[in-house]
């Protein structure tokens, strides 16, 4: 693949990152390529898992679902041969786990967990997470309010306040 194609594909990803709902036609015109080319690239990006998944960012609180989320600091003992990866895999396969990062610093894994209420999350931590062999300790921080997710400010959007016609 030429350098130029790589750059255009990165541009495509940036456009999708801004707004995933654009049509192939719209994207094609912005990148000055044929719509068929966009379709082909999208397919490649998806099969290469460069585009991993597309999903909306939802303000669940506004939607009336008061789910609870928590950020859990987890200290673990790395294992021979597999390091942190095998333990990480055991943790991220739980559907309650929304995100999992290996961290530098005071703890090893940052785990985001979601549940329908406080009790459910607490139960998950105490019965599932803390009991895995190799997990040394957990510290649970409940989320009180979400201000920004995935680069998007949840509450206020900076609306276009310009006059419609100006010199």
């Amino acid at each position: 693949m030429s350098d130029k194609t790589i750059v255009v594909k990165q541009e495509l990803l940036k456009l999708l990152d801004q707004d995933y709902q654009q049509t192939h036609e719209q994207l094609a015109r912005q990148l000055r390529v044929e719509p068929a080319q966009i379709a082909k690239w999208m397919q490649e990006l998806e099969s290469d898992r460069i585009i991993v998944k597309c999903q909306p960012i939802i303000n669940w609180e506004k939607a009336g679902l008061d789910d609870v989320s928590a950020l859990i600091e987890v200290k673990i003992t790395p294992q021979r041969e597999v390091g942190f990866d095998a333990l990480a895999a055991r943790i991220y396969r739980f559907p309650e786990v929304r995100s999992l990062y290996l961290m530098s610093g005071a703890y090893d894994l940052a785990v985001t967990v979601e549940g329908t209420n406080l009790k459910e999350v607490a139960q998950f931590v105490s019965t599932k997470l803390a009991t895995i062999d190799g997990v040394v300790s957990t510290t649970t921080h409940f989320v009180l309010k979400k201000y920004k997710e995935e680069g998007v400010i949840i509450e206020d959007e900076e609306a276009d306040r310009r006059l419609l016609v100006t010199p």
């Binding site: 912005q30 276009d160 310009r162 006059l163 100006t166 010199p167």
Partner: protein, 389 residues
């Protein structure tokens, strides 16, 4: 009592802005995609807004020097020296104004005597003509054409020259055409200015929005520093239109004269906005570069979009406007803009709002999201298609 008769004849003689008239029509409608907006679609980068908030918290609410904060003038002169190699003394050769609009007004009032003529290449920003006239001068239009890529030539200027010609007012990169002037083009103009002892007022507000090649600062041409009143500001490059901060750089005498008017009429530019402008110059380059890259991408898309529709579209090299010709649709600029608005709810500005020689063209701003622009191009394409058969 007919109060309008009591308004000064000079003010009465100046026609209202053509843009204003069109704005009133657009404002009545809903669901309009507007390509009529002459300001960035980005809000001011957060770090710049935040610096203003911080300034307010620390109690920066006073007047500043008439000239503006010295720190800001130092940043401005340093930037101009680094970018264009022209040096100005921040203490007496720089004036911070309430937008370039004020700076332009001050420049005209500082140099013009009644009846002095100013050469104004058109199409141009809507206030050039009015500013000259309000200062007692006589604006003399010089028509720039598509044939010369909307650049002004020495021959055209020479044809408009009279013994009363005192100054030349240029604005490149240009609003509304997006035209730029190369260093060679400007060097010829500089020679002409020298030869006829003209003062040159150069409005370079779009300097940072230059896409192909480098912007040439008029004052950087040999012998032009003292002859030029260089105007620039923060509105376009840093998405700071509502802050109203511009500046003028010139020889000490011109700046002192402009400051004299400024101190009695404006006193100083708002300190809050001046603080934000300091931040813009100190830290704003990365956000500015990001915005410029985005405009450049949209620019290419718009030119291609209009050409694909069958409209003759000049490739703009600066600012954030395209200026396609609509002559082959059979409509005048105003008819085209009005009918497009009614039929497809896309607002753009008739070219004649920027001078009579803008007739036959429309100004489309691409300071709008790519998604809006593609939708607008679809709608315009639908409108234009039956007209071109």
């Amino acid at each position: 009592m007919n109060w309008s008769e009591r308004v000064s004849p000079l003010v009465r003689s100046i026609p209202p802005s053509g843009i204003r008239r069109f704005f009133d029509i657009v404002a009545e409608m809903s669901g309009v995609i507007s390509l009529g907006v002459g300001e960035p679609d980005f809000v001011t980068p957060w770090h710049i807004r935040e610096s203003c908030v911080h300034g307010l918290q620390r109690g920066y609410t006073s007047y500043t020097s008439n000239y503006g904060l010295l720190e800001l003038r130092q940043e401005i002169t340093q930037m101009i020296e680094t970018d264009y190699g022209v040096s100005y003394n921040p203490k007496c050769e720089a004036l911070v104004t309430v937008g370039v609009s004020e700076a332009l007004d001050l420049a005209m009032r500082a140099i013009l005597s009644p009846g002095d003529e100013v050469l104004v290449p058109e199409p141009c920003y809507v206030s050039y003509q009015a500013c000259v006239a309000l200062a007692g001068g006589v604006p003399v239009s010089v028509c720039c054409t598509r044939e010369h890529e909307f650049r002004v030539t020495v021959d055209q200027l020479a044809a408009a020259l009279t013994p009363r010609t005192k100054a030349l007012l240029i604005g490149y990169p240009n609003n509304p055409t997006g035209a730029v002037m190369s260093r060679e083009d400007l060097a010829a103009i500089a020679q002409f200015a020298e030869q006829h002892d003209l003062i040159v007022i150069s409005d370079e507000i779009y300097a940072n929005l230059t896409y192909d090649g480098e912007h040439t600062c008029f004052a950087s041409l040999p012998g032009m520093r003292d002859r030029t009143i260089l105007l620039n500001g923060f509105s376009k490059a840093y998405a700071m239109t509502g802050w109203r901060i511009g500046y003028a750089l010139s020889n000490e005498d011109f700046i002192a004269a402009m400051t004299k008017i400024h101190q009695f009429t404006m006193l100083c530019a708002p300190i809050t906005a001046q603080i934000a402008a300091v931040e813009a110059l100190q830290q704003g380059r990365p956000s500015r570069d990001r915005m410029v890259a985005e405009y450049d991408n949209r620019r290419r898309m718009m030119v291609e979009g209009f050409r694909n529709m069958g409209l003759n579209c000049f490739e703009p090299k600066g600012a954030f406007y395209v200026f396609p010709s609509i002559q082959n649709t059979g409509f005048t600029s105003l008819e085209f803009a009005e009918k497009l608005l009614q039929a497809e709810k896309v607002a753009l500005v008739p070219g004649d709002a920027f001078g009579a020689c803008g007739e036959g063209y429309v100004r489309c701003s691409y300071a709008s999201s790519s998604k809006n622009l593609t939708e607008a191009l679809d709608r315009i394409g639908r409108f234009v298609k039956p007209l071109l058969k």
